[in-house]
């Protein structure tokens, strides 16, 4: 019983079996009472009709002799001779004509079909009989032997029992099959879950086709893809921390240790402490960037999305960087005034644009022209930052969005190799992606975003670029 109670499939199968059994019983009952009832009513109607005909064939009421003659004729005509029952009793209770030797007693109600045991042609039989009273106290019995009906009755009952039995067997087979099917599929999902639990995150639920289980499996697989992605991100961050944060930490530590050597002046000590604080601040900034990427990639911030004018964002960021562009002798321009509306997080989008402008100024070099714009077409919104600097070698393009990845020639410049990773994570969070392409000369960095309407329609605005 414990096993039965614990298994949902068994419960389902059992419930299904019970429902089918109950419906079979109901159908059988309906069929039984339907057929037998109809037969019984037919018999009653027949004997009533025949007795009426016998009673009414004479305007002044039938005389014995006429009635007896008619009965004898009916008995002799060979029609229904297996079942027909007639008896005419004189007012004194003596049989005048007929084919039964015992008959219902005088207390039997008149003109209403009753079921009685009689002896017909020397054989006992169960019969349906109607008794009519004749003028002068004589009685007429008209009836029908119920043996054919009894046969049909038995036949129907047998057929119903056989049918019900067969149905129940089918139900049992069906429920067992159903149970097996459900259990097999659940077992496959369970097995996948156990394998993943054991550490193999690449396992997926096998495809069942397009039914409930198939869709459940697809849903689970999509969830697993997402988890694997996030796990990869976490692994990547831990690797990055292990490799790329040790170096600056080692530098800070070395500076401090050096400062503590004997014979250092107060100024040197304070200089070292200031530098150490700056070094630590840089590290904190890197940590914050990594956390920000993780936060964006986890898709948690889509809750705070609101309508943002990308053109406003572009102008704000250009105004933030104009002084720096002047200093670096880079031309920084923007075009377009019309609002370009997106659904997103203003701060994150501004951050992404700032990162791209920062890169363009830094790598474009003196004399470069940087053009920033927000635009839209019917399907997408674009945030574009284009420079005419040296660009990125095509084979490096896929790698520059990786965390901490830096081009060899840019290692001498300040930066932590996280800028483009953040831009990509922000674009992805907004349901878009980051495109990098060489414009020969220069680089075109473009954030492609869904229109505000599409972004609002989409259920999950996260898409892997």
């Amino acid at each position: 019983m414990v096993v039965l109670r614990r298994s949902v499939t068994t419960q389902l199968a059992l419930a299904y079996g019970l429902v089918v059994a109950a419906s079979v019983a109901l159908v059988s009952a309906a069929l039984f009472f339907g057929t037998i009832g109809v037969l019984n009513r037919a018999v009653d109607a027949k004997i009533e009709r025949v007795s009426n005909r016998l009673m009414q064939n004479d305007g002044k009421g039938p005389a014995y002799a006429v009635l007896a003659r008619r009965i004898n004729r009916l008995l002799a005509d060979g029609i229904n001779s297996d079942t027909e029952i007639y008896l005419l009793l004189s007012p004194g209770g003596r049989p005048v004509a007929g084919n039964i030797s015992t008959w219902p007693d005088a207390s039997t109600p008149f003109s209403r079909p009753v079921t009685r045991h009689v002896i017909r042609v020397g054989r006992p039989s169960l019969a349906r009989i109607i008794v009519r009273r004749l003028p002068g106290g004589a009685r007429l019995f008209v009836g029908s032997d119920l043996r054919p009906e009894a046969l049909i009755h038995t036949l129907v009952v047998r057929a119903l029992i056989a049918g019900a039995g067969l149905s129940l067997i089918l139900v049992v087979i069906g429920t067992v099959y159903l149970r097996r099917q459900i259990e097999r599929r659940i077992a496959e999902i369970g097995r996948t879950a156990r394998e993943i639990e054991a550490g193999d995150l690449t396992r997926r639920v096998p495809s069942f086709g397009d039914d409930e289980f198939g869709r459940l499996g697809l849903g689970i697989n999509r969830m697993l893809d997402r988890i694997e992605n996030l796990m990869d991100g976490v692994r990547h961050v831990s690797n990055a921390i292990a490799h790329d944060l040790r170096t600056p930490l080692a530098r800070v530590r070395a500076r401090l240790e050096e400062a503590l050597r004997p014979g250092r002046s107060r100024e040197e000590l304070s200089e070292a402490a200031t530098e150490a604080i700056e070094g630590i601040d840089t590290l904190i900034r890197v940590f914050e960037k990594l956390l920000q990427i993780a936060e964006a990639e986890s898709g948690m911030r889509t809750r705070s999305f609101e309508t943002v004018d990308l053109n406003r964002v572009v102008h704000d960021m250009v105004e933030l960087y104009d002084a720096m562009a002047e200093q670096e002798q880079v031309g920084l321009t923007t075009s377009g005034e019309a609002p370009v509306l997106a659904l997103g997080d203003r701060d994150l989008l501004a951050n992404a644009v700032a990162s791209l402008i920062d890169n363009a100024i830094k790598y474009g070099g003196a004399g470069a022209q940087v053009q920033v714009s927000a635009s839209s077409d019917s399907r997408c919104l674009h945030l574009t930052v284009q420079d005419n600097g040296p660009g990125i070698p095509s084979e490096e393009i896929p790698r520059v969005t990786e965390r901490f990845y830096r081009l060899d020639q840019s290692r001498s410049l300040s930066g932590n190799g996280l800028g483009l990773s953040i831009v990509r994570a922000i674009a992805t969070l907004h349901g878009g992606w980051l495109e990098l392409r060489n414009a020969c000369p220069g680089l075109v960095a473009r954030i492609v975003l869904p229109t505000a309407r599409d972004a609002a329609d989409e259920d999950s605005p996260t898409r892997i670029a």
Binding site: R285, L320, A323, S355
Partner: protein, 235 residues
């Protein structure tokens, strides 16, 4: 300024209290939420520095909430290791006046605290600002130094206005980013330094004395004095 410092980490608390004392303020440390709530509600403070996560049943946000429920307008600066923007928004919604994430530079904390105090006793926000021979008129968008009109771009105007409104106070790069450019992120490079240097070229170059001073490790101060206030330096 009388400050209440509600912070459970003894080192951070000491660091903040010592820094405040060196800057000439009175600081009362408090190590748990329950006492913190008690002090915050029953005494009058010029500012409260509040850690978000505290031991005991009372956390930082519920202290702010309670304080505001009682109608107390004491400026509250929240410090927290929860750095995400969502957390920051939550802190400000609960009634905090400013939010600073750990780890922080003391100068940043002090600068924000002084800005808060200034905000807490608002006078009529004047349309005309004057520092030494530099004047700024918000109505006409005119900046004049030593009778010479200076041409500023709109953002430069806002930057100068912010600096002048906080005359004599250290303002950090983060504060400038937030107030002038509405940026709540760290743009990696020294954009603010470059902006300040361009502004300096316009309002200080060729004039005496220089009004915009750099406070090393902290930020900037606009003042008629030769040097920045020492109190703002990191201890």
């Amino acid at each position: 300024m009388r400050c209440l410092v509600i912070e459970d980490d003894a080192d951070t608390s000491r660091y903040v209290c010592n820094g405040l004392k060196e800057a000439g303020h009175a600081a009362t440390p408090c190590g748990n939420g329950l006492d913190g709530l008690h002090y915050a509600v029953n005494e009058n403070w010029d500012a409260i520095i509040l850690d978000r996560m505290l031991p005991g049943q009372v956390d930082g946000l519920s202290i702010v909430g309670k304080l505001r429920d009682l109608g107390k307008r004491t400026p509250v600066l929240i410090i927290s290791a929860l750095t995400s923007v969502d957390e920051r928004v939550r802190g400000l919604r609960a009634g905090g006046d400013d939010y600073i994430s750990k780890p922080f530079a003391f100068s940043e904390l002090l600068a924000r605290l002084e800005a808060l105090r200034r905000r807490a006793c608002p006078g009529q926000e004047s349309m005309r600002l004057q520092v030494a021979d530099l004047s700024l008129d918000k109505r006409t968008f005119q900046v004049v130094r030593a009778s010479q009109s200076i041409n500023l771009q709109p953002r430069e105007f806002r930057l100068l206005e912010y600096l002048m409104r906080h005359e004599g106070q250290v303002v950090t790069r983060t504060m400038l980013l937030e107030a002038v450019w509405d940026c709540h992120f760290d743009p990696q490079t020294n954009v603010i330094d470059v902006q300040i240097s361009r502004l300096r070229n316009k309002i200080d170059k060729g004039f005496s004395p220089a009004l915009i001073h750099t406070v090393r490790g902290s930020g900037y101060v606009l003042a008629a004095r030769e040097s920045a206030p020492l109190a703002a330096d990191a201890p």
